[in-house]
């Protein structure tokens, strides 16, 4: 185990060796800061209608206003906050499900594995968004937590599959045999010995899951089946679609939220890719 100082040195090395990591993490942190500090610096109610309809960006409204005269910059700040929150929470849920299902199936094998692989494959065949649409339509009122739950239970399969294949290669290593000889129980070996060895992999998948959850939530919101009580980036796009922002030529209405979704998921992808290069020496050399 490395100490905190070792970790910091490692992080500095990582940042210096990979410009992609710097770009990715700075974009991501920009949005995190925007979401957390934004409401304090720019305390405008994103839902309050005014009489200034469809104003283009100006000093008073940095990103203009929508058709009800609501401030779009305030909406973007709140939307970013909730999109990040939903993405983060859903990614936690997805990772837990993925690790449990993939890990247990891969480690124990046999009938359990066959069954879990079958379920995983069935889920993989179904386009996630179709499943999400049907499930989301069952709730008249969808809180953010319901959406997080739905995203979690629909996006785990690809992670479960990758975790399973990793486990398959790890479980035949010597240290697992040693642990067995020491008399550890299977579950203990799985969670104490095998899983920590693939921590880097899990972290990378977790980052990827955040991006997937944010994009899925935006897609769900864009067709009107997202969370009903909050403003997310997808909701802003939804309103822009419903009130036909394009017909008014209100580019300031629909470009910033979509750009934010794209940049957030792109930055997460870049971080993921850079970490892959760091942890995987083969990818490091070929570039």
């Amino acid at each position: 185990m490395k100490g905190a100082r070792g970790l910091i040195a490692e992080a500095i090395y990582a940042l210096r060796s990979s410009p992609r990591l710097i770009i990715g993490s700075s974009i991501f942190f920009f949005y995190v800061v925007l979401a957390v500090i934004g409401p304090l610096l720019y305390p405008v109610d994103p839902r309050k209608p005014t009489f200034e309809h469809l104003q283009p960006p100006s000093l008073q409204h940095p990103l203009g206003t929508d058709i009800l005269g609501r401030d779009l910059f305030a909406q973007l700040i709140h939307g970013t906050y909730y999109s990040l929150k939903i993405g983060f929470m859903a990614a936690i849920l997805t990772s837990i499900l993925g690790i449990m299902i993939g890990g247990v199936g891969g480690y124990f094998g046999g009938v359990i594995d066959d069954l879990l692989t079958l379920i995983t494959n069935i889920f993989l065949c179904v386009p996630t968004i179709a499943l999400l649409i049907i499930l989301a339509a069952y709730f008249r009122v969808r809180s953010e937590w319901i959406v997080i739950l739905l995203l979690g239970i629909t996006t785990w399969p690809s992670m479960a599959r990758s975790i399973r294949s990793q486990i398959l290669s790890l479980k035949v290593r010597e240290f697992v045999d040693t642990a067995k000889l020491c008399g550890m129980s299977s579950l203990k070996i799985l969670f104490r010995e095998v899983l920590p060895n693939m921590l880097a992999y899990i972290v990378m998948y977790f980052i990827l899951n955040i991006a997937i959850a944010i994009v899925s939530e935006a897609g769900l919101s864009a067709i009107g089946l997202g969370p009903t009580e909050i403003i997310s980036l997808g909701m802003i796009l939804r309103w822009a679609i419903v009130w036909e922002a394009v017909r008014y030529g209100a580019w300031w209405w629909f470009i910033p939220p979509g750009l934010s979704i794209t940049l957030i998921s792109l930055s997460l992808l870049m971080i993921n890719d850079a970490l892959d290069k760091l942890y995987n020496p083969r990818a490091r050399t070929t570039r």
């Binding site: 993989l124 065949c125 179904v126 386009p127 996630t128 968004i129 179709a130 499943l131 649409i133 049907i134 499930l135 339509a137 069952y138 991006a211 994009v215 935006a218 897609g219 864009a222 067709i223 009107g224 089946l225 796009l237 822009a240 679609i241 922002a245 394009v246 017909r247 030529g249 580019w251 629909f254 470009i255 979509g258 979704i261 794209t262 998921s265 792109l266 992808l269 070929t286 570039r287």
Partner: protein, 305 residues
């Protein structure tokens, strides 16, 4: 998932405000029988599974007397007409551009690569909005979405074809472009890897034409790209659902959305079944294609027996 869909069927089908009470009651009873709501859940489910084999999903609630199969048969060609060309064109264009970016390097690569990354990550419907803004609002080349009437029937006259193409172009581009981005990124990495491998260096030292080496590299790099196709197929189909809703394009996605909003459970089941079936059939066809492209796969299967 089908249990849930089949089980909760109905409930809202019995609201007809302008009839007298006894009429409502009779209508209600008739509909309950019609949609088999009087039977217990597991019987409903079994009959649903049985009906899946005969492609009989019953009658739609929203478009009442029409059969679900008919509605889907009307919508599916539109969806496939969007999906299949988008995937084929996107695959070739993406692989070509990716290989070109890896081959040319320099400024060409520096401009294209971030662009690929960007469009691969941006949501389909957002690209769609931007394209509608540029081409329909600003340049006025194409109509502003939502233009097919449900009664529109396709005939092979020049006017109809032009009309369809005018409405088709933007949804097509918005489904295809993210896909081009994804394919190009993959291809670029693969070609870079192949161009640095031993055989490429050997050919180079023999003084081969660089295009020729690229052709060899391309052939080697194409395999993983074909392997990735089925995964992309599901993703592209999923993304298309949202795009269809945004554009008002009369495909399966719009139908599913309408059905969900109208709580039209037979139609939901039908759409969902169709979406899954199309995805599975697509994957199956691509597996066969894969065996054709890489003879070793076929040998592997035959050798096992």
């Amino acid at each position: 998932m089908k249990i849930v869909a089949a089980g909760t069927a109905g409930g809202s089908a019995s609201t007809a405000g302008f009839l007298t009470e006894s009429q409502v009651k009779r209508l209600y009873e008739y509909w309950v029988r019609e949609f088999e709501l009087d039977k217990p859940l597991h019987i409903q489910y079994i009959s649903f599974i049985m009906h899946c084999f005969t492609l009989n999903f019953g009658v739609s609630i929203r478009y009442y007397p029409t059969r679900v199969t008919e509605i889907i048969a009307g919508a599916l060609p539109w969806s496939l007409a969007l999906l299949i060309p988008a995937i084929i064109v996107g695959w070739f264009l993406g692989n070509y551009l990716g290989a070109l970016a890896a081959y040319k390097r320099g400024i060409f690569d520096h401009l294209l690569y971030p662009f690929f990354l960007f469009i691969a990550q941006s949501p389909h419907y957002w690209l769609a909005l931007i394209m509608v803004y540029i081409f329909s609002f600003y340049l006025r080349w194409f109509p502003l979405g939502r233009a097919y009437s449900p009664t529109f029937t396709f005939t092979f006259t020049l006017d109809a074809i032009v009309e369809v193409m005018r409405h088709y172009t933007l949804p097509f581009l918005s489904v295809m472009l993210p896909y081009v981005g994804g394919e190009a990124i993959g291809m670029r990495a693969l070609i870079l890897y192949e161009m640095g491998s031993d055989y490429a260096n050997y050919c180079e030292s023999l003084g081969f034409n660089k295009w020729k080496i690229l052709k060899y590299a391309f052939k080697n790099a194409i395999l993983p790209q074909v392997t990735g196709l089925p995964l992309y197929f599901a993703a592209a189909f999923g993304g298309q659902i949202v795009t269809e809703v945004v554009f008002g394009y009369p495909g399966i996605g719009s139908l599913l959305y309408e059905a969900v909003l109208g709580q039209d459970y037979p139609l939901i089941q039908g759409c969902f079944f169709t979406i899954v079936a199309v995805t599975i059939i697509g994957n199956f066809l691509m597996d066969i294609l894969y065996a054709y492209i890489d003879p070793r796969i076929k040998l592997g299967y035959l050798g096992e027996k």
